[in-house]
């Protein structure tokens, strides 16, 4: 069970680490300085959550790895994030669509984990859930404005949605590990999360006059088992290069 919790914490932590890094890539490039600050704040929240989750994972593993060791000295096949979060930022609409879709599942995962029998995980989740309430509001407000804005903003958001939709199944489809930890009262119930996800995304699509993309099953998953797109290689090589060039450095 201890190994299961370690693996589960990697999934939760890696989702937020990779998403946080992607959001941080906007720093200095956002459409307007206020949004630059907003996206940087979201990134900092995600990376802070990842740091706590990976620190706990390292403690449970008991092999002397801390959050930095797990973040900077694992290779892509050892990452357990879902494929959605490693997708490139694209245009602003794609970044907003990715955020809305991730949080449509992730916010409910955190709410459930706030009641986990694993008390330290529950404490991290409760703090994170509070931060994510703001992420949800900010991203959904942009979702509505892009969807209902100009023809161009609507079309760009629809294109982003079409592109990212196949990656959403992975967010709400439990595998054996999810099922075991849910039964043990530690992990989230992804079947229940799926119900929330479907309801909320349905409302968001209607509110922004967007078309639901067709459900495909070409297997856009595997992230939980280390099968990633090449996007993650590039992301990690940038994120990890300083730590690997100066392994003992502190600042």
């Amino acid at each position: 069970m201890k190994d299961d919790v370690f693996e589960y914490l990697l999934r939760l932590g890696d989702d937020r680490l990779v998403l946080g890094h992607r959001l941080s890539e906007w720093c200095g490039h956002a459409p307007i300085v206020e949004e630059d600050i907003a996206l940087a704040n979201l990134a900092l929240d995600c990376i802070g959550q990842a740091s706590q989750l990976l620190e706990l994972a390292g403690e449970l593993e008991g092999a002397g790895r801390d959050a930095d060791a797990l973040a900077f000295f694992r290779d892509p096949t050892q990452f357990r994030n879902c494929l959605l979060v490693e997708q490139p930022n694209g245009d602003f609409a794609q970044t907003i669509a990715r955020q809305v879709l991730f949080d449509a599942a992730g916010a409910h995962v955190l709410d459930q984990l706030g009641r986990s029998k694993h008390e330290r995980l529950a404490a991290i989740a409760r703090k994170a859930a509070n931060e994510v309430r703001y992420h949800v509001r900010h991203a959904r407000d942009w979702w509505l404005r892009l969807g209902l804005g100009t023809e161009e903003s609507h079309d760009r958001l629809q294109a982003a949605l079409d592109e990212l939709w196949p990656y959403t199944g992975e967010l709400v489809t439990p595998d054996e590990l999810d099922t075991a930890l849910c039964r043990a009262g530690i992990g989230a119930d992804l079947d229940a999360v799926r119900v929330w996800f479907e309801r909320e995304v349905g409302e968001l699509l209607a509110a922004a006059k967007l078309r639901r993309p067709p459900d495909t099953s070409f297997g856009a998953d595997g992230g939980r088992h280390g099968k990633h797109s090449e996007h993650l290689d590039h992301l990690l090589s940038e994120m990890q290069c300083v730590a690997r060039a100066h392994p003992e450095a502190s600042w």
């Binding site: 307007i32 300085v33 206020e34 949004e35 600050i37 907003a38 704040n41 703001y134 509001r137 900010h138 407000d141 942009w142 404005r145």
Partner: protein, 110 residues
């Protein structure tokens, strides 16, 4: 954030009385209340397309780090301001009998 705050306060009168000189979203003035019951004080300004996002931008720029209990935003074009030319006769109570000034006792509390 300190430098940002000073800069935006200094330019306030010019910005609110003139049309925005840029092509960005409208300018919103931000007022921050630091504890319940206290006055909302001008903190600076943000650009935003509408009031809801102005509040969010104000939160991200001025309220993320300190203790803040409430935020106000008002679109700058809704603020009427005196001009520097008006000031001598509109705003000159003179240096004597300062206690007559409604702001005189504000300092005594602090």
């Amino acid at each position: 954030m300190g430098a940002r705050r000073r800069r935006s306060v200094r330019r306030k009168t010019a910005r609110v009385s003139a049309k925005p000189a840029d092509t960005q979203w409208p300018l919103w003035e931000v007022f921050v209340q630091e504890k319940s019951g206290a006055a909302h004080e001008h903190a600076g300004s943000v650009h935003a397309p509408d009031a809801e996002l102005a509040l969010q931008n104000a939160r991200d720029t001025y309220a993320r780090r300190g203790p803040v209990t409430s935020l106000w935003v008002v679109e700058a074009r809704h603020i009427s301001a005196t001009t520097p030319e008006d000031s001598p006769f509109l705003l000159g109570p003179g240096p004597e009998k300062l206690y007559r000034h409604p702001r005189f006792y504000k300092g005594a509390k602090e």
